[in-house]
C-alpha cells in the first residue's frame, strides 16, 4: 500500500483521540464513582437502576411506617397494662370486701374502686403523638367522659371503632390500633341472612335485650324493610319494660345496600359498612350496633343478635362504687362483668403483642430485602476502582508510547537525507 504523509498523521490523531476518549470516560467514572451517568451508558442498566431505586425507597417507606406503628402499639400496650393492673387491684379489693365482716368499712373499698376507675379512665383517654390511643379513627376527640349529670360514663367521640391501617409491605396492610370498641365497648352484633328473593316492601323485624349503664333492661328492635333489589331501609327503636319507646322522635332510618353477587353488605348510608353507635342519652343507653356480618341470601331469612357484654367496664365500676358507698356489696353478676373485662383486656394485650411481632418480623424481612437491593444497585452502579485505575494506567502508557513514536516518525522524510 502506498503510504502518504497525511495518512500517517491522520492515523496518529485518530488513535490518540480514541485513547483519550476512553481515558476521559474512565476518569469521569472514577471521579463520580458511578458507572452509569446517563441512560446511554447502559440503557438496560439504567432501567434496572430506576426500578431498584423505586423498590428501595418504597421499602424504606414501609420501614418508616413500621417504626411509627411500633411506637404507637407499644404505647397502647403500656396503657392497657396499666388498666389491667388497676382491674387486678379492684378484683383484689372486691374479694377482700366480700370477706369483710364489718360492712361500715366499705367506704374505703369504694375509694379504692373510685381511684382505680379514675386511673382506668385516664389510661383510656391516653394520648400519643396527638392521637387518643383508643379513639379509633376519630382520634382527635377525647373518647370517654362523664355525662352531663355525672351519673354515667359515655363515649364522646363519634366513632371509636375505626381501624388505623398502615402499609407495612407490598400488599400488606396492618391495623396498628386497639379500638375503643374492641377494648371497652358494648357491641350488639346482628348476623344471619336477609332473603334476597323477598318482594319489595317485605319487612323483617328482630329484637334483643340491651342495658342502660346502671343495668336496667330495655328492648332493642331492628326492622329491615326491602325498598329495592339488594336495598333495605333499616329502622330501630328502644323500648322500656312497659313496651313504650324511649325516643320522643324515632331515630332516622338508614339505607343498607348489599352486593348483588357476593351478598355481602356494601354500604350503609352511602359509606363503607361499619358499626355505628346507638344511644338514648336520657336513659344512659349507648352501644355499638354491628350489622356488617349480615348477608343477603336467596330463600334464607334468619337474623339473630349477640352482645359481648351487658354494661361496659366504666359504668359497671361506677355502679359498684356507688353501691359500696351506700354500704352495699356488688352482686356476683357485677363482679363477673369486671372479671370478664379482665379477661378481655388480657386478650387484647396479647393480640397487640402479636401485632408487635408481626411488625418486627416484617421489618426484618424488609431490612434483608433492602440489603439485597442495595447490593444489586451497587453491582449495577459502582465503579470497580482497581480495574478502572489499571485501565487508566494502561491507556496512559499507550498514549505515551504513541506520542513517543509519533515524535520519532512523523517529522521524517527523504528531505532529511538530501
Amino acid at each position: 500500500m502506498r503510504i502518504t504523509d497525511l495518512m500517517s498523521v491522520d492515523n496518529y490523531i485518530l488513535n490518540i483521540q480514541r485513547t483519550k476518549e476512553k481515558m476521559s470516560t474512565i476518569q469521569s467514572q472514577l471521579s463520580t464513582q458511578q458507572k452509569i451517568q446517563k441512560p446511554s451508558d447502559s440503557p438496560e442498566g439504567t432501567g434496572k437502576l430506576i426500578r431498584l431505586q423505586n423498590q428501595l425507597s418504597t421499602s424504606s417507606g414501609y420501614s418508616k411506617n413500621i417504626e411509627d406503628g411500633l411506637s404507637y402499639i407499644d404505647v397502647s400496650i403500656t396503657a392497657m397494662e396499666s388498666i389491667q393492673t388497676s382491674i387486678t387491684d379492684i378484683l383484689t379489693s372486691l374479694a377482700t370486701a366480700n370477706n369483710a365482716t364489718v360492712t361500715d368499712g366499705l367506704d374505703s373499698f369504694a375509694d379504692q374502686v373510685d381511684n382505680a376507675l379514675d386511673a382506668i379512665l385516664n389510661a383510656a383517654n391516653e394520648k400519643f403523638n396527638g392521637k387518643y390511643l383508643f379513639a379509633g379513627t376519630d382520634y382527635s376527640t377525647k373518647p370517654y367522659g362523664y355525662n352531663a349529670d355525672g351519673s354515667a360514663i359515655e363515649i364522646k367521640a363519634s366513632n371509636i371503632s375505626g381501624k388505623q391501617n398502615i402499609q407495612i409491605s407490598k400488599n400488606v396492610v396492618q391495623k396498628i390500633n386497639i379500638t375503643g370498641e374492641e377494648l371497652f365497648g358494648t357491641v350488639v352484633k346482628q348476623s344471619g341472612n336477609l332473603d334476597s328473593s323477598a318482594a319489595v316492601g317485605s319487612v323483617q323485624t328482630n329484637q334483643t335485650s340491651v342495658y342502660s349503664s346502671d343495668g336496667t333492661e330495655y328492648t332493642f328492635i331492628a326492622t329491615y324493610t326491602k325498598t329495592a333489589d339488594n336495598t333495605y331501609s333499616l329502622s330501630y327503636d328502644i323500648q322500656d319494660s312497659g313496651g313504650s319507646s324511649v325516643y320522643s322522635t324515632p331515630p332516622s332510618s338508614l339505607n343498607v345496600k348489599f352486593n348483588s353477587t357476593t351478598g355481602e353488605i356494601s354500604s350503609i348510608d352511602g359509606k363503607p359498612a361499619s358499626s355505628f353507635i346507638v344511644e338514648a342519652p336520657s336513659q344512659n343507653i349507648q352501644f355499638s350496633f354491628d350489622t356488617t356480618k349480615i348477608k343477603e341470601t336467596s330463600g334464607v331469612s334468619s337474623l339473630s343478635f349477640s352482645a359481648n357484654q351487658d354494661v361496659d367496664i366504666f359504668n359497671t365500676l361506677l355502679t359498684i362504687k356507688n353501691k359500696l358507698q351506700n354500704g352495699e356489696l356488688p352482686t356476683d353478676e357485677e363482679v363477673a362483668r369486671v372479671e370478664n373485662f379482665n379477661q378481655n383486656i388480657l386478650n387484647k394485650i396479647s393480640s397487640a403483642g402479636n401485632i408487635v411481632n408481626k411488625l418486627q418480623d416484617t421489618n426484618d424481612v424488609l431490612n434483608n430485602q433492602q440489603n439485597v437491593i442495595t447490593d444489586l444497585i451497587s453491582n449495577e452502579q459502582d465503579v470497580d476502582e482497581a480495574k478502572a485505575i489499571l485501565d487508566l494506567q494502561n491507556m496512559d502508557y499507550i498514549l505515551q508510547v504513541t506520542y513517543q513514536v509519533s515524535s520519532m516518525i512523523l517529522p521524517r522524510s527523504l528531505l532529511d537525507y538530501l
Binding site: 446511554s40 430506576i50 423505586n54 425507597s57 418504597t58 392521637k131 391501617n165 402499609q167 359509606k271 527523504l414
Partner: protein, 451 residues
Amino acid sequence: MISNIFNIATRSLDVYRKALDVTAHNIANSDNENYSRQTVNVSTSTPNKIAGLVWGTGIQVDSVTRIKNQFIESQYRKNTGENSFYNKQSDLLSRVEQVFTEPSEYGLSDLMTSFFNSWSELAVTPDSSVLRENVITAAQNITARVDTIHQDLQTIKEDTFNEFNDKTQTLNNLLSQIHDLNVKITQQSGNGSPPNDLMDKRDQLVNQVTSIADTQVYYDPNGSVNISIGGVLAVDVSQSVKFEVIKENGELKLSTASGHVLQKIKGGELGAISDVYSSKIPDYEEKLDNVITALFKSVNSIHSSGYSNEDPPQTNINFFSSYEAGVLKINSAILDDPSKIAVSADGTPGNGDIALQIADLNNQQLINGSTLVESYSSLISDVGSDKASSDSLSSSSALVLQQLQTQKSSYSGVSLDEEMANVIKFQRSYDASAKLISIADEMLQTLLQMV
C-alpha cells in the same frame, strides 16, 4: 543537424521544468486533504523522417491529470452521509437524554416514588397537616419536573427546527457554488486540459452536500456533476435549486420554490434532524404522556372517593385538576387548603385507607401490565438505547470512513518521499538537458572554428 540537439534539449528542459512545477504544486498541497495529487503525463514527441531514417525529437507534455479513484470516492460519499446522520442524531439525542436527568434523585422516577411514599406515610397519621404538606410538595415536584421535561423537549424541537433551516440554507449555498463550478469546469474541459484544482474543490463541496442530505451523484461526461436530492434534480450545469423548509403533519420536509414537496430526507444531518424532530421526540413525549395520564387518572379516581379532613368531611374532590399539553396541575383548592386532601374512607379524620390505596398505585400495573415506574423506566431505557445505538453506529461508521479516508489518501494523497525523489529525478534530467545544450554549443563552436 546540431540544431536538432538544441531542439530536443530545449523541449526536455521545458518538460522537466513543468514536471518540477507540478511536483512543487503537489508538495505545496501535501497537507490539503481535499487535494488529489497530480502527475505530468509525458510522451515522446512526433519523430522526423529524414533520408529514409526516423529521427526522435525528444519528449513532450501530454497532460496534467489528477489521481483519483472514483469507486473509493463514491464509497466515501455514501459513508460521509451515514456518518454525519448518526453523528447529528447522537448530538441531538444527548440533549434529549439530559432532559430526563436520569439516573439521579432529581429524575421523575425518584419523584414519583417519593410521591407514593408520602401517601403511605400520610396513612399513618392522616390528619397531620405536616404530612399533608409533604404530599403536596411531592406532587409539586412531579408537576414541576413534568413541566420542565416538556418545555425542554419543546426547546430542543425549536432548536432542531432552526438548525434544519440553517442546514437548508447551507445546502442551498453549496448547491449554488457547485453550479458555478460546473459551469467553469465544463467550459475549461472543452479546451482539452482538465481543471484539476477546480474539480478537487467541487468534490469537496459534493462531500459537504452528502453530509447534509442523502443524494444521488452523477458525473456527466461533459464535466458537470449532477446531484439529485429526494427525487428532485438539485444541481447540474444549467441550474441549482433553492430549497425551502416546510412542516407537514408534524414532519420537517423540503420543497422547491415552485412548491414541489420532496420525499422524506432520510440521510445526512437533515435526515437526522427530521428523524429526531418528527419521530423520536414525539415518541418519547407520547410515552411520558401515557405515564402521567395514568398517574393523573388513577390518583384522581381513588382520591375523589375519599373524604377530606374538614367539618363536615367533603368528598368528590379531585387531586389533580388537569393534565393538558404536558402541564399537570394540582387542584388549587388543595393547594390553598391541604385539609381538602381526601384520604379518609369513612369521613373520620384518623382513617387513611384512601391514602393507602393511592400509595399502592406504585405497585399497580396501570399501563399494559407494568407499573408507572416500570413503564417510565422503559421509556428511559428507550431514550438511552436510541442514544447508545446512534453512538455506536456513529463510531462504527467513523471507522469505515477512516478506512476509506486512508484508501483515498493512499491513492490520491501526496507522499513527500515520492515527490522529493521526483524532484531529484526531474532535476537530474533538467541538468542533463542543460548539459546537452552546452555540449551542442561546444560542437557548434568546434565547427565554426574550422571555418
